[in-house]
Symmetry: D3
Subunit: 134 residues, 6 copies
């Protein structure tokens, strides 16, 4: 029987929502305060969920220490205490909405984890706004 194991992590980052194909007025109209040219920031809470069969020898679907380390190398090291627009390759040409950040994290974790497992990402941008993918 399949079981899902989840690990919570977090990172703190600055970002700005902006579509370079639009003029300032349209960017301001669509993204409002999130369009501030000097950036604002968030404490992002991240949950990575892995679904699979437990290994009968360990009783683990996946060792949480391994998942914790993967989240650190794939997400926390590149994104924590960074400006997503300026300091990362992933968002150089991609608007760092919660949806796009979650999609980028999903692709990174999906590549890093064996295909025998399903991968799901939950990302809280604030306590009241969050997104899920996978």
């Amino acid at each position: 029987m399949k079981i899902t194991v989840s690990r919570k992590a977090h990172f703190n980052a600055a970002h700005r929502l902006h579509n370079p194909a639009w003029n300032d007025e349209k960017n301001q109209s669509v993204f409002g305060k999130c369009n501030n040219p000097n950036y604002h920031g968030h404490n992002y809470d991240l949950i990575v969920s892995i679904t699979g069969e437990p290994d009968p020898e360990t009783g683990y679907v996946m060792d949480m220490k391994i998942l914790k380390d993967l989240i650190k190398s794939e997400v926390e090291d590149p994104f924590d205490h960074k400006n997503l627009n300026l300091d990362t390759e992933e968002f150089e040409d991609l608007n760092p909405t919660a949806e796009n950040i979650a999609a980028v994290i999903w692709k990174k974790m999906r590549s890093a984890i064996d295909d025998a497992f399903e991968v799901k990402i939950t990302l809280y941008e604030t306590e009241r706004n969050y997104v899920e993918i996978g």
Copy 2:
């Protein structure tokens, strides 16, 4: 790839569980303290989840400000600081259990949101009891 975006809100309301087709003894036996004729109340925590494809121009599945405003007009304005049994049309003839409140909210949000999106409602009646629909 589909993404789910969720927005949390809350409202405070009084209610009473009661089936008018039953006598007082049966109502008391089934609904216990929740049958108090003078009502009791809750802080209802509500999560509205919308699933769809992100718009490539905005990077949004749905603008959270739009969803926040919809929740205000459809749920908070009619239900917040109200007596669900006495002050609302929806529960004039419907027992305001968490299940029924969630189903009413689901119908209201489902009508208000484009059919291209899936809609799910999560409603916490207390920190320990909650329901999901959709």
Copy 3:
């Protein structure tokens, strides 16, 4: 050295804020939505904190089971699933603001607990509004 021990509990109740010495217009102006004549309600989260010297034989300032039972008999039994305005003697002539509810609970707990201990009450009316006394 003194130590403070705290126990969390909760109760769900309906209430209405109203000053009978005022006319409806003034009540509505001061208390707004909280003045709804049909009541609204809350999940009240309560913390009772007791400060004193630990007993060297038990290592306890106070047995948490005893404190839990006192909160049940003094607060949960009379207030849980009740309409504070209609179902309780304490708020027959006292406006059930969070401040007044906390003060009533403080007096009840202060009477029930040995004078060797200090007593403090924290009462959350919502996740964002709370009061402290003692």
Copy 4:
């Protein structure tokens, strides 16, 4: 339309992760600090979720008081304040990982609840690690 109702509970227990088919070195290498021969412990937060059609007479999928009592008799009474390895039959020969504890609880709740309902278990071992089954 189907609705899911969930009830949260918790229990506090000691455990040790260990595979008796392995030597001490391999157990230490795989399970790390969780292999401590003198045990360590957790506050386990448990969510039991039941999916079904609401009863039109009550408006309930399942009376939460009944579900609360079932969780008490099936999970809290046998596991709360226990050493899972030493004090329970279920983990006499089964490694008490979060995955295995959740699977044991799922089987117990599945047997106790009418087949008309789906049953899902969510078990938090810590605030950052949790598992889901069903």
Copy 5:
């Protein structure tokens, strides 16, 4: 008897820790990741606590709607979705550590609130780090 009433709010901002009197090496050594020249950000959770005597006519120490509006005009409007270093006068020459942000907010709220009341500020920079003043 004095009672403390508290109101929670939040704002999202970018910042950078930096002492212009030091060279880059020393700034990096002291402030680490928080010295990133492109800024990072946080969801700041703020609690404003007011202590005083309840008004016997209202049962309020202070109307929470008034306190909510004061927090909005004094803190949320100038700081929410801003870069504290670049977009605010207060941190033009003041390092925006949690301690300094809390002290600035305390001074603003202290000036805005009648001297009959005591004012205390609690500011969460992350779920694990917070400061208190007043």
Copy 6:
């Protein structure tokens, strides 16, 4: 003006409440389920609060990285994933109630931190029971 900075941490441990000067019947009567001879366990949430004047050069009362490392060496390394009764010197002859654990941690942190600062410890044994000292 003095500011308090707080850092949250946690550790998971097994323990048993027992007074060796009493017979089994009295231990069982006083400590109930907590007297289980095979131990039970908890996720202990710890808050260490330090009060002092911010350093004008850094804007810090204390660098949170230094406090985090002190909590690791003084509390997490010796207590995390341990049996407090069997694996630690501190509780060899001291009943590991929440009060006594908090007092031991207070003494360890008080010794490790400069006398210019005040030290306070908050220890959650469960979500509903916690103690404060200092």
